[in-house]
C-alpha cells in the first residue's frame, strides 16, 4: 500500500512533537494520562511510522524510477525507448502493455507463490552488490535463471492475440510447449530481442528517455 510522502512526513512531525514534550518535560509521565501519551509517542506512533513507511517504500521499490536509480541500469532504461517493435521490452513499455511506471517489476517479478518476496530479496542483493560489492558491467548482467514463460503468460494467457496467434496456434504442440515452459517465448526465432545493450548505441530511439514515473510520455 502506498502512502503519500506528505502524509507520512506529517505523521512523523506529529510523533516528533509528542516525543519532544517528554524530552523537554519528562515529569509529564508522572500522571496516568502522561504515561498513556508517552506510550503512544514512544511506542505506538513510531511503529506506525515504520509500518506505513515500510509499506510505502516497498511500493516505491516496484517503480521504474527506483530500478533505474542505479547507474548500472541506465542502459536498460534507455533500451525501453528503442524505436523497434521487434525489441520486446521497448514495445511493451512504449505501448503500455506493462504499466510504464512499474515496467521493470512487471516483467521481472516472479508470478509464483512468494514471487514478489523473492523479487524483492533479489533487489536487496542487487543493492548490496552495487554499493558494497563489485558490480558487473551493464552488458555482463545476466538473469539468475532462464526467463520463465510464466511471467509472460501471467498477462498473455487467454488473450485472443496470443491464443489465436498464427505461430502460436499453428501446431497444438507448440502451444502446449509454450504453456509448459518447454519452449521459451524468448527463444531464437521467436521474441528473442530483449535488452540488446551491446548494440544500444546503434539503435534509433523513439524519443529521448524521460522519467518513466512522470506522465509526459
Amino acid at each position: 500500500m502506498h502512502f503519500s510522502a506528505p502524509l507520512l512526513i506529517l505523521l512523523i512531525a506529529l510523533t516528533i512533537a509528542l516525543i519532544a514534550v517528554f524530552v523537554i518535560r519528562p515529569q509529564t509521565t508522572a500522571t496516568a494520562a502522561g504515561k498513556i501519551a508517552a506510550f503512544i509517542g514512544f511506542f505506538a506512533f513510531p511503529l506506525l511510522c515504520v509500518g506505513m513507511g515500510f509499506s510505502s517504500q516497498m511500493d516505491n521499490s516496484k517503480s521504474t524510477r527506483f530500478c533505474l536509480s542505479c547507474h548500472i541500469m541506465e542502459p536498460y532504461g534507455k533500451s525501453l525507448w528503442i524505436d523497434d517493435p521487434a525489441h520486446l521490452p521497448a514495445s511493451h513499455f512504449q505501448n503500455h502493455r506493462v504499466p510504464p511506471d512499474q515496467a521493470c517489476y512487471t516483467c521481472h517479478t516472479n508470478y509464483a507463490m512468494f514471487g514478489g518476496l523473492k523479487a524483492k530479496l533479489g533487489g536487496l542483493r542487487h543493492m548490496y552488490v552495487y554499493y558494497l560489492g563489485t558490480p558487473p558491467k551493464p552488458e555482463e548482467i545476466k538473469l539468475y535463471e532462464p526467463y520463465n514463460n510464466r511471467e509472460c503468460l501471467h498477462c498473455h494467457a487467454g488473450a485472443r492475440s496470443f491464443e489465436e496467434g498464427v505461430v502460436h496456434s499453428a501446431d497444438p504442440a507448440v502451444m502446449a510447449d509454450i504453456k509448459s515452459n518447454k519452449l521459451s517465448c524468448v527463444s531464437s526465432g521467436c521474441h528473442e530481442t530483449v535488452h540488446d545493450i551491446a548494440k544500444l548505441g546503434e539503435k534509433k530511439l523513439w524519443k529521448e528517455p524521460v522519467d518513466a514515473n512522470s506522465s509526459d510520455h
Binding site: A5, L8, I9, I12, A13, T15, I16, I19, A20, F22, V23, P26, Q27, T29, A30, A38, F42, F43, P46, L47, C49, V50, G53, F54, S56, Q57, N60, S61, S63, R65, F66, S69, C70, M127, Y130, Y131, N213
Partner: protein, 68 residues
C-alpha cells in the same frame, strides 16, 4: 554525555534518539531511489531495534516510580 541514572534521564535519551531516527526516516521519503530505501531501512532498524526496546526498558526500570 553523562550516563542517565533516572527514568526521566533514560526517557530523554530515548526521546532524542527517536527524534533523530524519525527525522532521518522523514528525509528518506524525499528520495525515490535505492539510497532513500537504504536510509529508510537504517532509520527503521534503529527505531525498531534500539529506540522502542529502550523505551520499553524504561517502563520496567526500577526508578520508574521516582516521585515528582
Amino acid at each position: 554525555m553523562p550516563i542517565p541514572r533516572t527514568t526521566e534521564g533514560y526517557l530523554k535519551v530515548v526521546g532524542v534518539l527517536l527524534i533523530c531516527a524519525l527525522i532521518v526516516e522523514a528525509l528518506s521519503f524525499l528520495g525515490h531511489g535505492a539510497i532513500a530505501f537504504m536510509v529508510f531501512s537504517f532509520a527503521a532498524a534503529v527505531l525498531v531495534c534500539v529506540c522502542v526496546p529502550a523505551y520499553l526498558l524504561t517502563l520496567v526500570h526500577k526508578d520508574h516510580e521516582s516521585p515528582h
